[in-house]
Amino acid sequence: MALSREQIAMRVAQEFKDGSYINLGIGIPTLAANYVPEGITVMLQSENGLLGMGPYPTEEQVDADMINAGKETVTASTGASIFSSAESFAMIRGGHVDITVLGAFEVDQQGNIASWMIPGKLVKGMGGAMDLVAGAKNIIVTMTHADKHGQSKLLEQCTLPLTGVNCINRIITDLAMLEIRDNAFYLLERAPGVSVDEIRQKTAGKLIIEGDIPEMQF
């Protein structure tokens, strides 16, 4: 069975290590904040200038001056810091954020990512995504393995305009977790009940399958 959005987020959260500084993109990545494993503490960076993003505010706590990068009202956690956009991206560009999780349209076996522009459609902009993929040490992409027409999003080469090159380490889709290295997708885990064959069928890029591929554990 393909994973739900929540399940993808849960699997992402298993990658978090105690004491990690993490930037979560809009959508599924943001959901991962709800599944941080017990006994582990992480700090969430929001690129508009907040390190230590807390939960959404209660009605009484709502403050127009306190938002996240998705422009939603938020709170600050204990020990948070707030700073300018230049400082925020100094952190990001300088490689100080440990993990970045973001969505994508396509990823290819060179670790390239396309996530911001579909020619012919209105382009709204890249926001901070290009800085994040250029700067983070460890980038996890979350997306469905194939689009709604069944076309693979894990390609030999991206077809859409890129967000960054040679930057993606890990992909967690509704079907599998994969690592990119040596110009190939290495299958690490499969979603419970999903066969290696289905993953092979839906992966257009070079796929390496070594030994038995375990199922994800939740």
Partner: protein, 233 residues
């Protein structure tokens, strides 16, 4: 104190000197920390042909979005736009030009502009449409692109408090692009919620030293929230 007293009493005074075809750098992220009254004054002045540098362009009817209504903006330099229908319409019709710039590069371009750094290298955007036509150079085996800094004829900034000398502090995440914008204007105008006397803000807590600031005005703010999300208490 006269020489350093930067407080002006009207929006007209605050934006005096702004003319057609100038470049205006604006602080703010979405609708958070935007100089609402200064934007309103630009609308009232009716100047056109503006190049506006700001992370976003407001929404329909609020923030920088109101400058689209009378087609005052010729070119927008931003990282994320299209939160409003009018923007989309003018973009598609070719009335409005957009230069999309990665958010961190945009912040750094403003900072560099204010700091006398004409250009810098960054990995951001290398190998993407953003890098097209830009010089590529390797440092320690990694390719980077050359990005030039930005300065403006005017910078419009929203701060929480400023003293009469123009020393500013920002409130929470309403800081965002405001400190960099403040450094990058030939004329920098700061709109604040409260004006205090020099000395009231401790020297080490000042986030924008007054040397960057030319005019200070006390504004009143609606502070519209773009996406209110709450949890139950």
């Amino acid at each position: 104190m006269a020489g350093f007293d930067k407080v002006v009493s009207s929006y007209a005074e605050a934006m005096a000197g702004l003319t057609d075809n100038m470049t205006v750098i604006a602080g703010g992220f979405g609708l958070c920390g935007i100089p609402e009254g200064l934007i309103g004054q630009i609308k009232r002045m009716g100047v056109t042909g503006l190049t506006v540098v700001s992370n976003n362009c407001g929404v329909d009817g609020f923030g920088l979005g109101i400058l689209l209504e009378d087609r005052q903006i010729k070119k927008m330099v931003a990282s994320y736009v299209g939160e409003n229908a009018l923007f989309e319409k003018q973009l598609l019709s070719g009335e409005l030009e957009v230069e999309l710039t990665p958010q961190g590069t945009l912040a750094e371009k403003m900072r560099a502009g204010g700091a006398g750094i004409p250009a810098f290298y960054t990995a951001t955007g290398y190998g993407t449409p953003v890098g097209e036509g830009k010089e590529v150079r390797e440092f320690n085996g990694r390719p980077y692109i050359l990005e030039e800094s930005i300065t403006g004829d005017f910078a419009i900034v929203k701060a929480w408090k400023a003293d009469r000398y123009g020393n500013c502090v920002y409130r929470h995440t309403a800081q965002n692009f405001n400190p960099m914008a403040a450094t990058a204007g030939k004329i920098t105008v700061v709109e604040v919620e409260e004006i205090v006397e020099p000395g009231e803000i401790p020297p080490s807590q000042i986030q924008t030293p007054g040397i960057y600031v030319d005019r200070v005005i006390k504004g009143s703010f609606e502070k519209r929230i773009e996406r209110k999300v709450t949890r139950s208490a």
